[in-house]
Symmetry: C2
Subunit: 400 residues, 2 copies
């Protein structure tokens, strides 16, 4: 029987993330700049082993049992303290623990997005966010970026145009630090301007912050949420890149009434986040393991970024440009306009044995076919140079 004839209409635009598909290539002879996958050498396996063993010994019944939808109380307290050290004022009642930050985006879309609502994003932006929002049928409006993050002046223009046509933007989704996919970071002035504009146009801001933990160049700029005086910013983060993604623990920091509504929404999605993972993160925070990870991560990924940037410099043909990220996992590459990075991917994988993520999937406007996201986080350091050389050859051939 063909069950697809029962599919809902939205099933037609539920399309596979190329990033997730690319994960399947990992571990073959392909050098992958695909997924934003942490270097497994960054996982503090021995310390996590000890923590899990001690948690199961001391409170195994609780760690394996159902837990509150909002997250276990002690973890909400520790996370409130943890974000507090980044300048965010929050109590446990402002924290919702989620099943990775992907679930946070899903819940925010579920609670805030009506069909037709205008949601403004950076263009390009995180494709998991596009996936999460799209199910609720918003009108996604992308705002161009420059090296200093989202162009607030163009955002303002867009908002005015929308207002004059009778529409109104409701949400603004941004990744201000080491953005996915571009690696760009907005400076303090840009952040302040964005908040002022949000106030003026009465926008709610969703700040996604998975990467600021490894900002290489001095202290990272404060989160938007730390500058937010009105409760206009909803902050989302995750432990995936800092401890281990397999734990599936993220969190939202927001006003209490938002947390309450998100928790109710979460009952219908996953009931609760993994209890054992919550206890592990709780102990990792209490014992200072998370804080001890941060300098390690900066060291690991900084060296890789440098390797990628110098390889790009060495190998890329003229007409190709790329970003120089201050942190995170990604370099954003722009090939000459006639080079179609979507069409080239099968050749890249099968002939050149190199993987990247075509940039078009990150665009909310159908553009970006000559762009690609390169992740420097996963391949061994010595493979980065070789992978970039393969990619350069591919692009040079395609550019003719």
């Amino acid at each position: 029987m063909d069950a697809s004839r029962f599919f809902a209409r939205r099933a037609a635009y539920l399309r596979a993330s190329q990033v997730r598909e690319l994960l399947k290539w990992i571990g073959r002879d392909v050098i992958s700049f695909g997924g934003g996958v942490p270097d497994p050498a960054s996982f503090p396996i021995d310390e996590l082993r000890r923590i899990i063993d001690e948690v199961l010994e001391a409170r195994g019944s609780a760690a394996l049992q159902y837990a509150p939808t909002e997250g276990i109380d002690e973890l909400r307290e520790e996370l409130a303290r943890f974000v507090g050290r980044r300048g965010i004022r929050a109590g446990p009642e402002n924290v919702l623990v989620t099943s990775g930050s992907q679930e946070a985006l899903e819940l925010l879309a579920r609670v805030f997005v009506d069909p037709g609502d205008v949601v403004v994003t950076e263009n390009p932006t995180y494709l998991g966010a596009i996936q999460a929002f799209s199910v609720y049928e918003p009108s996604l409006v992308g705002v161009p970026m420059d090296e200093g993050g989202v162009r607030v002046d163009l955002l303002e223009e867009r908002l005015r145009k929308l207002a004059s046509s009778g529409a109104r933007a409701k949400l603004c989704y941004v990744i201000p630090t080491c953005q996915n996919p571009t690696g760009r970071t907005a400076g303090l002035e840009r952040r302040k301007a964005l908040l002022e504009l949000a106030e003026e146009h009465d926008l709610l801001i969703i700040e996604d912050d998975p990467y600021s933990y490894f900002y290489f160049e001095g202290p990272e700029p404060p989160p938007l949420k730390a500058l937010d005086k009105e409760g206009r910013v909803i902050y989302v983060s995750t432990i995936s890149k800092v401890l281990a993604p397999g734990l599936r623990i993220g969190w939202v920091v927001a006003e209490e009434e938002v947390v309450e509504k998100l928790a109710i929404a979460k009952q219908g999605v996953t009931l609760q986040s993994p209890t054992l993972g919550m206890h592990v993160l709780l102990e990792a925070l209490r014992r200072g393991l998370v804080d001890r990870q941060l300098p390690r991560l900066r060291q690991i990924y900084r060296v890789r970024r440098d390797a990628m940037l110098s390889a790009l410099e060495e190998h890329m043909p003229s007409g190709v440009s790329w970003t120089r990220p201050c942190g995170g996992m990604f370099v954003w590459l722009e090939a000459p306009p006639r080079v179609d990075m979507d069409a080239l991917l099968p050749v890249a994988l099968s002939v050149h044995k190199v993987a990247y993520v075509p940039g078009s999937g990150f665009h909310v406007d159908g553009g970006g076919r000559n762009t690609a996201r390169l992740s420097f986080s996963y391949p061994p350091l010595e493979k980065i140079r070789e992978g970039v050389a393969r990619l350069a050859k591919l692009i040079a051939e395609a550019a003719g």
Copy 2:
């Protein structure tokens, strides 16, 4: 700032599950017949500790890393074998691992339900399913049950009526074994009749099966999916009641094209299930731990069911009736029509120190205010009798 003015329209009907709220009362002096919470004494903590430690030692990098959205391959294979022992023919490509079975329901609703689609359920039914479906705005049609499960004759009548009014049911959601909330089980003949009717009216069936692992009275009836020759049944189950709910691992068994579409939908919801939890379940299946759990569970819960049934017999005033489940965790109680179990709950908690779940939340038609679900799975055996006595006193007073 009041962020609630940004809420989507659906936020208004996102209402808290009373079951989840009741979890907050656990551990106080209240005897709780609330959540379907496993007895923590059933958790094989020592064996799980050993498994986790060995998994982290042998393949810690993989167990903490990202994993495929569909689930790790080896686990999909083991689960296909596991359901095979219950008569379900499946290969790994038919299995999707989910973040608890709640996520499975969310994904099925997302992929199959358009606004206005008719979804038929048992009435009463699992309230997490009502929550999952409702977000996608179906028309939920409840079919009454008797001791033998859903009344297939009444379902047929309902389907004919729908057809003659030009509507058509698309999905049928059932929990045929040890149903939540009633504890009722459909026999083999009823199952066959349901499948025939589904074929005749071209319905897709979602079979939710969390409880058949502890069926007390001889061999449990075969899953609908084992009787399904056409791929018309989508099977959902979970390890929550067998190993530990805190792992958050469930699964779907369906035709490959359905699994593929659900996996794409899952990318936008949680990306993937907890990797460590998947490795734990994999090892628990390989080492026979899951199979060794089943007789233990039957023993633990059978004794509790017996205690609850004999206490009900002893204490309940006349006019109160209840089900006599062959397995699972729940007894369904019906008080005289004038007794409002919703209104009584605060009194039950604060004065009588006993918790139950009012039955109205399980009803898709607004009925059932004189009903309640009593879970015998969590309170210590010796408290069950006392809890039932308290509840009987409450109902006797209310019945006047």
